[in-house]
């Protein structure tokens, strides 16, 4: 399905709301469970992000670290991730799915082979946390050639000059990191200031879909609704952790949480 990421943003825009994007770790806490969770929440989502667990995640906070740890403990491998994506896409062909991970996992698998596998299993986009601009130019090209959206990141520390270069080489979606932190910390700036930063990016190229992520929760999401899309990750991973601890079903609990998040932005 070509351009399904663009379509997702179009639909959200037509409903006058930001796109809702989830982040969960593939294989958390088991392969089947993670697919059940994604299937169940996908009705409230516009785009799904699935994390590729790595055991040295230098940009992740405690919540996503815990999720990755559980997934690895239960033996998830890259090939499992590809077949789970395939299964997901079989039932939800129009729901875009983005894989997010660290470059080591791709480097080890082989860049070309990895991108081909992504294409074959129906992956729509990729976010590689530690492959930043301009080092990612060749890999981004390889993605484009295979109709996969390579998502560039912009941080609060990114200068305007650099921002312009990043935007120039970006595909249909850009990920703006809300605050100077790892994933899942509290927002260090007011939501007003975050939206101001967002507007700086939008002004450079209004046609790009810019999503905001890192530290977004039930409490902060509605104040950020003028973004093109909002990513909630750690809050969901935290809910899985809590459910497992309380011996409750993470599928129902996470679905409830995502429903609530959706209600805050419509």
């Amino acid at each position: 399905m070509k351009n399904s990421i663009n379509n997702a943003f179009k639909i959200a825009k037509s409903e006058n709301r930001p796109a809702l994007i989830s982040y969960t770790v593939c294989g958390d806490n088991t392969k089947d469970k993670s697919l059940q969770i994604l299937n169940s929440i996908s009705k409230d989502l516009d785009i799904a992000e699935w994390g590729i667990p790595h055991n040295c995640p230098t940009a992740d906070g405690k919540d996503i670290q815990n999720s990755s740890y559980r997934a690895l403990q239960n033996g998830i491998r890259l090939n499992d991730i590809f077949s789970l994506v395939k299964k997901f896409k079989k039932t939800k062909p129009s729901k875009p799915i983005i894989l997010m991970g660290y470059y080591q996992m791709i480097f080890n698998f082989g860049e070309k082979k990895f991108v081909q596998k992504c294409k074959a299993s129906g992956v729509d986009g990729l976010i590689i946390v530690d492959l930043s601009f301009p080092d990612n130019k060749n890999f981004a090209k390889l993605c484009k050639k295979n109709s996969i959206c390579f998502v560039q990141l912009i941080a609060p520390t990114t200068t305007v000059k650099r921002m312009k270069e990043i935007i120039k080489s970006s595909h249909e979606m850009i990920y703006m990191i809300s605050t100077i932190s790892t994933t899942g910390s509290v927002l260090k700036y007011s939501t007003k200031r975050i939206i101001k930063n967002f507007n700086v990016i939008k002004k450079i190229k209004p046609s790009k879909n810019v999503v905001i992520g890192f530290g977004i929760t039930e409490k902060t999401i509605s104040n950020l609704r003028s973004a093109d899309g909002l990513v909630v990750g750690s809050a969901i991973c935290r809910e899985i952790t809590r459910s497992l601890k309380d011996r409750q079903n993470p599928v129902t609990n996470v679905s409830k949480l995502v429903r609530k998040l959706k209600n805050k932005i419509i």
Binding site: H54, N55, C56, T58, Q65, L78, D130, L131, S132, T157
Partner: protein, 404 residues
């Protein structure tokens, strides 16, 4: 095979993306870190050419760290092994007890120049942590040290030093609870606080700028050694320089001035811990802590767990600069087991007055293996890069005693 460039410092032999030999290093980091490390690179390039800063560094090295460390022949060991002459560059005699003192001091000086008030570092054996804590205190900086809980317990004397110097020791309880996890957690701390914190990476690892600062700092060792050799021998004799390798910071400092020599003239030998030995066991290249390097991984590419009695060597990766030295054929790498390192400590301390920590005990082990096979005209120099007191408890547990 990669070719080294002559007359260009090893740390500067990278391309504009930070890669050595198109293969090692780079800047694999989150976007948030890009600007801060770019600023740090600019600052470092300015400072290393700034006479005033160099004067300040030399002043600290001389008056704060105690100046030149001794270089002497181990007569008893030489006689006992009956081959090559064995010499010791006793870096452990420095105030701060290990080569990490240079690196920690330089980082604190850079932090001061950058105007940042906070400094954060990782440590395994605690030598870098201790020295960073002391340098931070001296220069009035707030210091955080990240350390695995397993290492906190096995290197307790150094942890006490850090706390006494006023540093906050942050216990890291994830993964294997050792150095690899401490480095990850410290990098996370930096990603979250890079606007006010200077990151002092504890070895010659990490994104390009961090390994450059590290190897630049420790190169003081070989500057001294070169002078000391000429004083003793009137020239640079046929040499073998033996150094232990964890991340590889002490070896890079010990070897720096000798890189351009032919390897038949000055041979460079690195000794890893047997079960943490990416360079000597043909590990694959992997991305760890921001750089491509030889690193132990599993088939899926996950970073492997390592095992060593020595906390400073218990690390799956290696400096990208050692990857460069290995692939160019300039250095060769071998390893020693816990048992061999302990046996080396036993012999050395029986015959000589030095008390190496577990890390350099690995280098001594290779020296003991090698010396009997060589001629009297061959000169072996071992970098005795750390003092043994921190491992007293482990030595007593393993050997039943700790020599006076």
């Amino acid at each position: 095979m990669i070719k080294l460039k002559k007359k260009i410092p090893l740390i500067d032999q990278h391309d504009k993306f930070g890669f050595y030999g198109n293969k090692f290093g780079g800047n694999y980091c989150a976007e948030t870190m890009r600007k801060p490390i770019e600023d740090l690179s600019k600052l470092f390039e300015k400072l290393r050419k700034d006479r005033k800063f160099l004067k300040k560094r030399d002043h600290y090295f001389k008056h704060y760290l105690g100046g030149e460390t001794p270089f002497f022949k181990l007569e008893n060991l030489t006689r006992y092994l009956g081959g090559a002459q064995i010499w010791c560059k006793d870096v452990s005699a420095i105030n701060g007890d290990a080569h990490k003192a240079y690196h920690a001091t330089v980082n604190a000086l850079i932090c001061k120049e950058s105007g940042k008030r906070y400094i954060a570092g990782d440590t395994g054996a605690g030598m870098f942590g201790k020295n960073l804590a002391m340098a931070a205190k001296k220069m009035n900086l707030k210091c955080k040290i990240f350390m695995g809980t397993k290492d906190i317990s096995r290197q307790a004397p150094n942890v006490k030093f850090m706390r006494d110097a006023g540093a906050e020791v942050v216990p890291v309880d994830s993964g294997s609870k050792t150095l690899v996890d401490a480095v990850s957690e410290c990098m996370r701390h930096y990603v979250s606080n890079c606007d006010n914190t200077h990151l002092a990476v504890g070895s010659a690892i990490g994104c390009n700028i961090f390994l450059k600062i590290c190897a630049w700092s420790t190169s003081q060792i070989s500057r001294e050694l070169k002078k000391q050799l000429i004083k003793e021998f009137g020239e640079i004799p046929k040499l073998k320089l033996i150094n232990v390798i964890g991340g590889g910071s002490s070896a890079l400092g010990f070897w720096n001035e000798f890189i351009d020599y032919d390897k038949k003239h000055v041979e460079l030998i690195g000794v890893e811990a047997k079960y943490a030995a990416p360079l000597s066991t043909n590990a694959k290249v992997a991305i760890l802590h921001g750089a491509a390097q030889y690193c132990l991984t599993d088939k899926e590419g996950q970073i492997a767990e390592t095992h060593s009695l020595s906390a400073g060597l218990d690390y799956p990766g290696s400096s990208p600069l050692h990857g460069l030295l290995k692939d160019s054929g300039r250095a060769r790498y071998t390893n020693a087991s816990d048992k061999e390192a302990l046996a080396a400590f036993k012999l050395i301390t029986k015959l000589e007055d030095i008390r190496p920590s577990l890390e350099p005990a690995h280098a001594w082990s290779e020296c003991i293996r090698l010396a009997p096979k060589l001629k009297k005209s061959d000169v072996l120099v071992v970098n005795n890069c750390g003092k043994g007191y921190k491992d007293k408890k482990i030595y007593i547990e393993q050997l039943g005693y700790y020599p006076k």
